[in-house]
Symmetry: C2
DNA sequence: GCGTGATGTAAACGACTGTTCACTTTGTCA
DNA sequence: TGACAAAGTGAACAGTCGTTTACATCACGC
């Protein structure tokens, strides 16, 4: 299904996906995109679209796939890179912020279509994020105090962290680009939120 | 601007707004709605739309207004109703869940268009939620320990709470209707998340 | 070099879009 | 009762939409 050989066409396939991402970053939602406008902005004739995607929805699913992949890539890199013992949280947050900025289009797509109008995309993104939460939960389970927590409790706290990070992502994407002050404030707030959460960990009794 | 006298037309105006909400709850995003289909589902001719709204965007803004109003109404009622001292959190959460279920269409609209494709709606909702966060922050500032917190810290924790509640809202709207088990789990998870947050409050040092 | 499959083109289709204008119906208030 | 404004109608417009079908071009492996 994903099997595709490289060649000239592969680049225009990419171009179509990029055009869609750009439209979305400009404000449109996916199910208001026009096949004709996409092909026009890529410089091919409308019918040529079908050489690369069976339908618009197929394009959307490809975008979900690609975007979730950059999300996973981030997590993998975060895991492999050595953890600085002081300021773990703050440095993680600012790394994340930089990552989002470096992949604006993908994150914009995820944020918009996460609650967007196309069911299959919505579900695909939802599943991807749930997977993300699960992985974060198991990661957390390796830390000193949290290693005694039950699985549901770990998921609960992972969900909370992801909610905070999601809020931060929204702020980043809507902040003016290259505004160090705005970035600093987002990093600051999110860091404090995460610190607050972790501060509660030692007190927690699962009840 | 909002001044409108009652009459026959007022009901079809309402009908148009409801038709839009129903379409959105069915999965469409606002900027993919069709003026003609809306009027058709209401039983009037396309041109009659303009008797009630200057444009589609005007309809959207009216929906933002209406939806945010139900949000504020909830908060007001929550404030006025006496607070049960035990199980404050759990009972608040389950009240909220019931409220969302009773106003599915409005919450669905807010959730979808919060990151949706129409800028003015997005901003309107964003501002409404920010107001919501601010009010929550001042409300929190009346509680025993929190009354010594700085304003930014209060906003920070209010934002975190809203993030958790937002996540819960998403789950409610996507859960099958009338499924007590699903409801119970959502209430449970969210309650534990809020409990965790409040558990950290006494430990917090602002720096 | 030739053929073959991948990629792109051109024309055309029927359907649907938002919006205009002039007109008719309806309800209300003087 | 009759006037007037609000609400709804009907026809028509210029565009845009997705998709089909048949044909042209390109690149690459034999």
């Amino acid at each position: 299904m994903t099997a595709r050989r490289a060649g000239r066409g592969e680049t225009t396939r990419k171009a179509l996906m990029d055009a869609a991402l750009r439209q979305i970053a400009r404000g449109r939602s996916f199910d208001a995109l026009s096949l004709r406008k996409l092909t026009q902005s890529v410089g091919i004739v409308p019918t040529a679209f079908y050489r690369h995607f069976e339908s618009m929805e197929a394009l959307g699913l490809a975008l979900v796939d690609e975007s979730l992949r950059t999300l996973r890539r981030m997590m993998r890199e975060a895991r492999e890179q050595p953890v600085p013992h002081e300021q773990v949280i703050r440095s993680s947050v600012s790394t994340y912020v930089r990552y989002v900025q470096a992949n604006r289009l993908h994150f914009h797509f995820i944020m918009r279509e996460r609650f967007g109008g196309v069911a299959t995309l919505r579900h695909g993104i939802h599943n991807g994020i749930q997977l993300f939460v699960s992985e974060l939960a198991t990661d957390l389970g390796r830390f000193p105090v949290l290693d005694r927590w039950s699985a549901p409790d770990l998921r609960m706290i992972a969900g909370l962290i992801v909610a905070a990070v999601t809020e931060a992502t929204d702020l980043i994407l809507n902040a003016p680009e290259d505004d160090p002050d705005a970035d600093a404030e987002i990093i600051n707030t999110t860091t404090r939120q995460l610190r607050l959460i972790l501060l509660a960990v030692p007190q927690w009794r699962s009840q």
